[in-house]
């Protein structure tokens, strides 16, 4: 049974951290202002910059604040979560406290009469073979169980190490925007959509927001990529925060900076 809604908002890649207070504030405002205006809100991963366990979150005032905002939103509308590559350890405790429902990578939902396939998007970046190997390992439940048993400060330092590695890679390749490793591959999109294709794919992860009309062999589809959020570094990066809005009017990007 596919869930059905007349309207929805989709966001991803906020990378919330205490060091980005303006971005966090925009998210809190989103939970109060834009979020309650639709029937369902979908968060397609990487809401947090990193997640080393629900027990760590319980100790962090910042994450308590986010939890509170999400719980208030969930009291008004249906909220869904898809794990990202940074917060895939977000677990049952946090989900329960925020009232969010976890969706698997590759989920289907009907919004305003059309069926959409949803995912975070990292599984689509198949040109990055090294990352896909890493992903296979860290998504194994026994690896995750072992990790979560480590002392909290060990987990934090592992997470920091992984983040700085990924940042170095991102910075060196962002100079070369055509690097295929940084984007999804068409064959992976075709595969995730499947032959019983919804023909409509929505994901985040790449930080390359755009609407695409694509095809691979005989298969055609539309693909919407969600934007990351960052309004805390206007001196170096273009400020951005947006959501994808789907209702009877169709699909459109909602700019959250000018609204």
């Amino acid at each position: 049974m596919i869930p059905q809604y007349a309207s929805a908002l989709l966001i991803s890649d906020l990378h919330l951290t205490p060091s980005m207070p303006l971005t966090a504030q925009r998210f809190f405002d989103f939970c109060e202002k834009e979020g309650p205006k639709v029937q369902a809100v979908f968060i397609l991963g990487d809401l947090f910059e990193y997640w080393v366990g629900d027990d760590a979150a319980a100790q962090s005032p910042f994450q308590q604040e986010v939890r509170h905002a999400l719980a208030n939103l969930s009291a008004k509308v249906k909220t869904y979560y898809v794990h990202g590559n940074r917060d895939f350890l977000l677990g049952p405790d946090f989900l329960k406290k925020t009232g969010m429902t976890l969706l698997p990578e590759r989920s289907h939902v009907e919004i305003a009469g059309s069926i959409y396939t949803l995912c975070h998007g990292d599984s689509l970046c198949t040109a990055d073979v090294g990352y896909q190997v890493f992903r296979q390992w860290v998504r194994k439940s026994w690896v995750q169980k072992l990790f979560l048993r480590l002392p909290l400060n060990w987990r934090r330092s592992i997470a920091n190490q992984l983040r700085s590695n990924s940042q170095t890679q991102y910075q060196s390749s962002s100079q070369n925007l055509s690097n295929p490793k940084m984007d999804v591959s068409l064959d992976a999109c075709a595969a995730i959509l499947g032959t019983e294709s919804s023909g409509r794919l929505i994901h985040g992860h790449t930080h390359l927001p755009a609407h695409h009309n694509e095809h691979f062999r005989e298969q055609h589809w539309q693909r919407w990529v969600l934007s990351d959020w960052d309004i805390d570094h206007p001196d170096s990066v273009k400020p951005r925060a947006s959501a994808l809005m789907i209702d009877g009017q169709g699909v459109q990007y909602l700019d959250l900076i000018q609204n």
């Binding site: 303006l22 925007l177 309004i231 570094h233 001196d235 273009k238 400020p239 900076i257 000018q258």
Partner: protein, 167 residues
Amino acid sequence: MAKVLLKTNKGDITLTLDNAKAPKSVANFLQYVKSGHYDGTIFHRVIDNFMVQGGGMTAGMKQKPTGAEIENEANNGLKNDRYTVAMARTSEPHSATSQFFINVNDNDFLNHTAPNAQGWGYAVFGKVTDGMDVVDTIRKVKTGSSGFHQDVPAEDVVIEKATVLEE
């Protein structure tokens, strides 16, 4: 209120500066105008619906030497609204020198919220009082990447001459 005329290759822009609310930023800006620093500099960072930034680079993205960094006056109550002019800086709050930007939208998130690294905001010190159409032409120009810089106009937008009209 001091007035400065920026003669650009896209037309003339008149800035009216708020000496009362942003005395340090205005004095600093006027000094660069008088010394001829801005003559030949370009608007090197142009993001439509956000801002246009210039005053520090010459054609070919060469950085000009500048004077000392100044105090950030973002807590003066002036808001980063459309057509206001503010001091650009690095991520360090009190690091503005010669670069400035013109807001082409109401950019609330650039305003001062708290006296710390994240909340300092960007110091508004004046506004465009003539030549808004020129600003709108500049914000619409085609941009691309140049070396480490993004959002660089494909064709140079040059401040040919900056002059003090009133002090």
